[in-house]
Amino acid sequence: MSVGIKENLARLQWIITLTVVSISNAPIADSGATLLPPLFLNWFQAKGWSPRAHQLQLLEQAQAGNSALLIAPTGAGKTLAGFLPTLVDLAQRGKSNAPSRGIHTLYISPLKALAVDIQRNLAKPIEEMGLNVTLETRTGDTPAYKRQRQKLAPPDILLTTPEQLALLIASKDAGRFFEDLRFVIFDELHSLVTSKRGYLLSLGLARLRRLQPGVQTIGLSATVAEPDELRGWLVPQTGGSALASLVKVEGGAKPHITILETEDRVPWAGHSAVYALPGIYEAIKRHATTLIFVNTRSQAERLFHDLWMANDDNLAIALHHGSLDVSKRRKVEQAMAANALRAVVATSTLDLGIDWGDVDLVIHVGAPKGASRLAQRIGRSNHRMDEPSRAILVPANRFEVMECQAALDANYIGAQDTPPLGEGSLDVLAQHVLGMACAEPFQADDLYAEVRTALPYAALPRDTFDRIIEFVATGGYALKSYERFAKIRQTADGSWRVTHPRIAQQYRLNVGTIIEAPSLNVRLTRQRGKGANARGGPVLGKVEEHFLEALTPGDTFFFSGRVLRFEGIRENECIVSNAEGFDAKIPSYAGGKFPLTTYLADQVRSMLADPARWGALPDQVSDWLRIQKEKSVLPQPGSLLVETFPRGERSYMVIYPFEGRLAHQTLGMLLTRRLERAKARPLGFIATDYALSIWGLRDMGRMFKKGELPLSELFDEDMLGDDLEAWLSESFMLKRTFRNCALISGLVEKRHPGQEKTGRQVTVSTDLIYDVLREHEPDHILIQATRADAATGLLDIRRLSDMLSRIKGHIVHKDLDQISPLAVPVMMEIGKERVPGEAHETLLEEIADELTREMSDHS
């Protein structure tokens, strides 16, 4: 690699700065002397460094036989701290010269790239101390021969991902492989645990503990609101509530965060930061290297395109997101590490703690919704703890201005709120159960006890577990017709075992919880206007199928930093040509991905209601709120404001719950059903993170005032009963969720041995399976799993339910003659976003009837 030397220098620098800089808890040289072997002390000394307090504290915990959680801000030397117990232990083992056969330390990170990064960083001290320690990575990219060799001759330290762990423990020689295991290090634990990936990992950890009861865990995490959840996750749960030890590093320098100041008008609505382009460009010019983060891929495309249009100085600005072709991404990463770029526009692919050269500014476009993400991102701009990181927030619309200000006022950024861990999902459990059967026959009692030591499954009822075993064995159907096709079967001694080696083979190909949306290669052709038959050119990347669904040949869109013309679809490829002009017809904005958090919502609500706090806001925003106060009222924290007004031929109702887009969408679906029943003739709704607007043909304001439809009834919590049920039964969202559950649980396969299936070629559509299953067994375990997933993920039911009970008796209705200032943003979204869940049947009818009329007119 051409950047090798420079890269290594940069990394060395990183390790040095990590270790040298003193922080609030100063280096403790004395206790270091007792904990660290001379070899290590000499190494530290030779460098002129002292070990840091938290590094020694963690070592002390580990040497006392405890598992521990280390919470530290980015740049505090977490990684070295995490590996110190391992290195010390291995150094001492080296003396005793005892032969070792298995892995000593397993390091698990959410990102492949992180494992590779850590390998480079850790190799240095190992080499310099002359430790006899082997260190290898194992990821999906590791070639088969190397994996095979790792099985035969395991390294001392193996750096890997959750998926690889699942594969390792499902193999027959897992027992031997892990028999010497001493430590498991989980990096970025806070980001791992809340997903299905985290559930699978927790079960994997439970298995490691069974294989090697003495194993100790070390969790590395950024600052989180509820450290106890992570502490519990790290240790076996047996009845009580066991916690790992906690080592915490306070502070570091506070990041220096500002909101972009601009003379330009902040837009009412929308998510593009076009208005702020000059300001962003100036900031790039003033700094050496800037990372610009946006929330979605299409925003990244848009902003990148716009920056280049404004790039009069020809600054080296690059684009990086997960849909781009891998080779393109690698190029950008290398240029970045070599400090050859002035700015990179990026999405979440650049998240987490990878070292990225000398970034001195982070710009974040959009509201700081996922604050934990934001803290990560800002942490990126400086790995040196003593220097403040610099960041500029660029709100894309007026509500986001308030959100950004509220976040700054509350000193929020840095105090992260990860979502609660939640209960482990059942599709993941099903996958794990099959994996354990692939490893070796199991007794149901034993596996049940083992699974319950994992925090997410600590409360798993026995009968649910038994149903999962039935599901894995024969599908768990009431009609027991698959006995002869069982995947696992109970033998005479009561143990469950795999019925055929093929089952294990299939399991290995389907392991993991990451379901990619069906996507198509985007191939650029020069032959414009030839449609799907044009000859091919280079692949630019991948785009999700659902985005292409609504395109018609000739439509233009942004991708890979260009404006492309959609030509057509050929097999698994989307054929495109370069489009003329600078504007894309299809904005392809799918809405902010991360809903407003509860904490920030509270902050925004209270800021909104308190004019004394408006001083911090730009004039145009505070003026806007003042006019709202005159024309209508301001939403108060403890109540719900409902505005109604006429516009055109329609009646509008706008409410301001501030509960995030998902909860608002669910509320929109449910309210529309109720309004339908009350004969208000609703036509549609639109939800943003802040507000919900519903429109219809009858005057809703009048209906509320006359008591024809009391608001208390409309917003009664009982909507979460039958209405929710009825809606869910026909919701496309549930089908999408079901697909994921079906894939993860192993009901349908992601891949067959020897052939990779793409999303387009799924042999039996999971939608059809869902329809059949729901009709015959609505209580099937997989339907239950689907509903549980949808309730938390897509629908945000809990938040909605909290809101409904909070506003009970506190609904403020304002019947207006015209639109209120606060309602403008949500009204501007109308027509821009899709209305989800709109009845497909209605669409068909509309088109067919239109056609009929058209034909009759012509005849």
Partner: protein, 238 residues
């Protein structure tokens, strides 16, 4: 205009009527087609026991697809009370599927068959007569101007009623795409939608359909939950 007369005629039960090679065809929302004048009901690609066929290979799909397909078939037979039924091939998902048919389904099927002529056209999934079941088996069958076969001929073929391709059509409105199974016809030939519960659809604008129909006269009859929606080519997406 010919198309108009076709489009506007929505019948009882939400069915749509069209003419293929001079025969009046009633397209039922279930995906079955009824030749009213001759009391012949045609269904295609039932794929009985597809679920258990997958189960044999380790995908334990819900074992209720045959029950669903039979129930739908029962409803459409009750609606039209046909003298003859033609099952247009791929009636069974694999060669052993008929033998695997659980007893209660075999007898339910027997009841549907009782008292009427029943014709199995062979398909690529079921090249033989289904084990132990009554009815007559043909590779193809001519009737009036029509010819029934499983796989559509590559060349234009007047009067051909075929299945095999599982046609589906997609329309888009307000950024939302709706895809449904459909009948597809240009008035000289027709390809029928798959009837089975686990059978999906292939877009009729995709390659396997190229050249089969007169592009000017092609119509898709999309299956809605209660009626059939006729669509012209210009409304369709891929």
């Amino acid at each position: 205009m010919n198309l108009v007369s076709q489009i506007t005629k929505t019948m009882l039960h939400g069915a749509a009527e069209m003419v293929v090679a001079g025969h009046r065809c009633v397209c039922d929302p279930s995906g079955a087609m009824y030749l009213e004048d001759d009391r012949i009901l045609v269904v295609s690609d039932l794929h009985f026991e597809k679920g258990s066929s997958f189960a044999r290979r380790g995908m334990l799909l819900p074992p209720y697809d045959t029950a669903n397909t039979l129930a739908a078939l029962g409803r459409v037979i009750a609606r039209y009370n046909p003298a003859s039924v033609i099952s247009l091939g791929d009636s069974f998902h694999d060669g052993q599927a008929a033998a695997r048919l659980p007893e209660q389904y075999a007898s339910a099927l027997g009841q549907l068959m009782a008292g009427r002529e029943w014709i199995w056209i062979t398909g690529n999934h079921d090249p033989e007569h289904p084990a132990d079941l009554p009815g007559e088996t043909f590779t193809e069958l001519a009737f009036g101007n029509l010819v029934f076969r499983h796989e559509p001929s590559k060349k234009p073929c007047s009067g051909e009623i075929a299945g095999h391709l599982h046609p589906a059509a997609k329309v888009v409105r307000r950024g939302q795409a709706v895809q449904r199974r459909c009948f597809v016809s240009d008035q000289t030939r027709m390809i029928m939608p798959a009837f089975g519960a686990y059978t999906g659809g292939m877009n009729i604008l995709s390659r396997p359909f190229h050249g089969l129909f007169d592009a000017q006269a092609i119509m898709a009859y999309m299956l809605g939950s209660k009626r059939v929606y006729p669509m012209t080519a210009k409304t369709l997406y891929i």
